[in-house]
Symmetry: C2
Subunit: 196 residues, 2 copies
């Protein structure tokens, strides 16, 4: 099982955003929708062994966490609007402290990064970290930030996490997830020029 | 300069599609929008040395080719709808046999893959190809298909192209572009564990 958690610093925490304006009205919800896509989609298939956590920190009810579970999700298409509609649905139901299912494979609860960190041993994806290609065993849970840097409070929470880098260029969060998946896929398949 | 060309087998060739339904009314235009994103975007920057060609093969005026030039494009945001709006704009202007600019860095012409192949030395990204990590010098122009396989006519056109693979999993076209960029970024920067 692999988990990705993406912090949406301005992402709306109610359903009051427009699917026609995910970047503006959604507080850059488009970034999170693309992260759902790259976390979960294979060509004509889903990555059933992946959970994607969206940590929403925007107005009016932050923080909330939405979980997309690859092993249970249905009616998710790759386009941003499809993920956006499911996020909106999750944000429209009453939310408590435990995950509640809003649609198959999609759950929501109150709480944010601090709680999530008690449940997973996360690594941080960050340009300064160890190269994922040369690292020994890779972790199975990764934290990324959206288009904004981690806040001071977040940096305090993740200070002890190991850090990994995917390459020399500074990438969008969703692109970073794709590169991590590629490295994990190669390792799982023991895919080298020798065995093809 | 790196070029990516993506074949949109059902992608509309006029502006008569809805930005609210890129997958349906646009003939899976969402796939092409995501390929524009992964071809051109860095975090808070654009890849100025990349051209992204969309080869549109759907109704009613196929084929047309739209070029997004990283060195000249403006007012492009990462969300699918932003690329979709610019594609729509390009498809709304009269089109001739030569590229005509519809917006800064975005041009359109009649013609498809056959013509494009006379102008670039393409490699094909395909699961059966040589691993990009172990290959010698990589090409600078790549062809990908959207959610559908290459047609028989396309396979004939690309039969002589070298083929490269990005890994053991069968990925979406946009994810494949991200992995190719990561390999090219590492090679350009001579980025290894030794020089960091």
């Amino acid at each position: 099982m692999t988990s990705f958690a993406i912090i949406g610093h301005l992402a709306r925490t109610d359903g009051g955003f427009s699917l026609n304006d995910l970047p503006g009205s959604g507080g850059r919800m488009d970034v999170l929708c693309r992260c759902v896509n790259t976390s979960l989609f294979l060509s004509h298939d889903l990555r059933r062994d992946v959970d994607c956590y969206l940590v929403l920190c925007g107005e009016p009810a932050a923080p909330k966490t939405i979980r997309f579970s690859g092993n249970a999700v249905r009616s998710l298409s790759p386009d941003e609007r499809s993920a956006g509609a499911l996020i909106k649905k999750a944000l429209d139901i009453p939310t408590g402290s435990e995950f509640r299912e809003a649609a198959p494979g999609i759950s929501v609860r109150k709480g944010g990064l601090a709680r999530l960190m008690t449940e997973h041993t996360f690594a941080v994806l960050d340009e300064t970290g160890t190269d994922i290609r040369t690292a020994g065993q890779l972790p199975d849970a990764f934290i990324l930030s959206d288009h904004l840097n981690f806040t001071g409070d977040e940096e305090t929470l993740i200070a002890m996490c190991p850090r990994y880098s995917v390459g020399p260029a500074c990438l969008h969060a969703d692109h970073t997830i794709t590169v991590v998946h590629n490295e994990l896929d190669r390792r799982k398949a023991q895919w080298t020029s020798m065995n093809r």
